[in-house]
Symmetry: C2
Subunit: 326 residues, 2 copies
């Protein structure tokens, strides 16, 4: 029995969570769901975006299924990632038949380091008007994330792992990351390894995203390249993600609370449903994940989608179509 | 009389410089050219990528016209930018008729802060396997670059300035940058001001680059978004840039030495020629810049280009076509 903390959060988080749960509850899973609060609304109610009770409960869970948070997103999600030591942020980006995108046949997984870099919160105003942030890169965290990327490549039958960095400018921090990358790469002779500067990589991502298979990079660059990759394959409506640690995991769509469309029932549930599939795979239900993903693809290819993808369905209508195809 | 240091550098730098000089020398300009060395070859010859003599000479010049450097690019260009205090890195990105691009009607200018952020070189190995880089953001440099962006917008009749940052994570450094941005924006009521997180901005850049007019951001984010923007409008073959300071200026194409095609005479001279145009505008020759840019556009729209843009011309052949159209 796995304990899953369900945190719908703010804005469309609630709506897409309802859609994902509709589908999950259709399966006979050995999950116990615990519904919890976090985000802007929680902050208003309890004075903290991530209330102590939520954090306490979450620590007792095996996974968090997270919808979205609004203004407080960083307080909630960055803190959760750190508290639960989920060191690997996994962000697949692929094209779907029926979804307009800049390119065809894109299928990559971005593996983003999730614990250090500029996300450590080490910032100081050292004098009036002089601020600094400390970017921390360690051998240990770099090795762990690079190894994770190569293992993922092997597990998924992928052929290449590409490291992104800016070692020509940050010789010590990015230099360490690149050095560790090639060291670990040496242990995986079946998988190709190469590296690019982050700036060039962003240009390639726009022009020839098929160059990428597994991408591994540090936290801030991973944040940037994963949004970019989502944009290249058709937008955030389709982008799931998983944060994996030794004991805990957090599953969240890459999109946010989207207050502009919240409450209208038109949010695209795809990213959240695909996020739930990542959780199913994580807990050993790959066949269910396959079936749901197949159903999502069928719905999208038939135009049975929410308006953002050109369809006319509401969030729960699309969820019901997917469910009927499962 | 303006003194211009001409540094062709490595790889295709030499070839595209020859093309740009062919065109510049056709005009009666009050320039004195001083040819200097820097880059990989200089390092081999003199032991330093940026020889002291070059740096000394460059200090006596009003501008540097730079081709490209290879492996030593960071040693040369980052150092030159710092030594010459060129605080503003100006990178226009626009579509050209006849150049395949992901989108149409893109026309933006990226204004990148050029002196601080993660480019200060403040890096330490604080313990074995533990490295850090310090990201410095100051009110003074932020205000200077933001003001430059608004002045540029006004001068070029542009309507909006957009700031990019990650203030939800880096509250102090990016927070300061954003705060200064809106403070300065208040003085420019004729120009709209807005801001995005850098990750979202990269997604928008891929999906709807027409959203951007003038973009202003800190050094590392500026490095990333400018390569991305170049990719969105068709690649580095067309991307010029200028580094502007109080006393000095450096003009360089965004592309590098491209050793893979160097020596074949097929490098696209467009970025370098457009870079020369930025220098002409800087020194008060806007009508010449207009004429050359018009000639470049005509050549490109007629397919009279190098192979990277689908044409059949060699570097100097394309330069001669442009010259004949000036
Ligand atoms: C909300 C924000 C703190 C977060 C991040 O930067 O990691 C988001 O952009 C993401 O990518 O999940
Ligand atoms: C070569 C490198 C140091 C440089 C930079 O990062 O500024 C380049 O990428 C650029 O954008 O001009």
């Amino acid at each position: 029995m796995k304990k899953v903390a369900v945190i719908p959060g703010d804005g469309i988080g609630k709506e897409v969570m309802e859609a994902a749960m509709l589908i999950l509850e259709n399966f006979n899973l050995s999950f116990k769901y615990v519904w919890l609060e976090a985000g802007d609304e929680a902050e208003k109610k309890y004075g903290r975006a991530l209330p102590d009770e939520t954090l306490e409960e979450v620590r007792k869970c095996d996974a968090v299924l997270f919808g979205a948070a609004g203004e407080t997103a960083a307080d909630v999600i960055v803190r959760l990632r750190q508290e639960l030591k989920t060191f690997a942020n996994i962000r697949p980006a692929r094209t779907f038949k029926g979804v307009p995108a800049l390119h065809e046949n894109v299928n990559m997984v971005i593996v983003r380091e999730n614990t250090e870099c500029l996300y450590r919160g080490l910032e100081f105003e050292v004098a009036d008007g002089i601020t600094e942030a400390v970017r921390v890169i360690t051998r240990e965290a770099s090795e762990r994330i690079v190894r994770y990327a190569f293992e993922l490549a092997r597990r998924e039958g992928r052929k290449r792992v590409t490291a992104l960095h800016k070692a020509n400018v940050m010789r010590k921090t990015c230099g360490l990351f690149r050095q560790v990358f090639y060291q670990v790469a040496g242990e995986y002779e079946d998988i190709k390894a190469n590296d690019y500067y982050i700036d060039a990589a962003c240009m390639y991502m726009a022009m020839r995203p098929q160059m990428f298979d597994v991408v591994v990079t540090t936290n801030m660059f991973g944040d940037i390249i994963s949004d970019l990759a989502a944009g290249v394959v058709g937008g955030l409506g389709l982008a799931p993600s998983a944060n994996i640690g030794e004991k805990h995991a957090i599953f969240e769509p890459v999109h946010g609370a989207a207050f502009d469309i919240a409450g209208k029932g038109i949010a695209n549930p795809t990213a959240m449903i695909l996020t739930a599939c990542m959780m199913l795979r994580h807990f050993g239900y790959p066949e269910y994940a396959d079936r749901i993903e197949g159903a999502v693809e069928k719905a999208i290819s038939e135009g049975k989608t929410t308006p953002d993808l050109g369809g006319e369905l509401k969030t729960m209508e699309m969820a019901n179509v997917v469910l009927s195809y499962v």
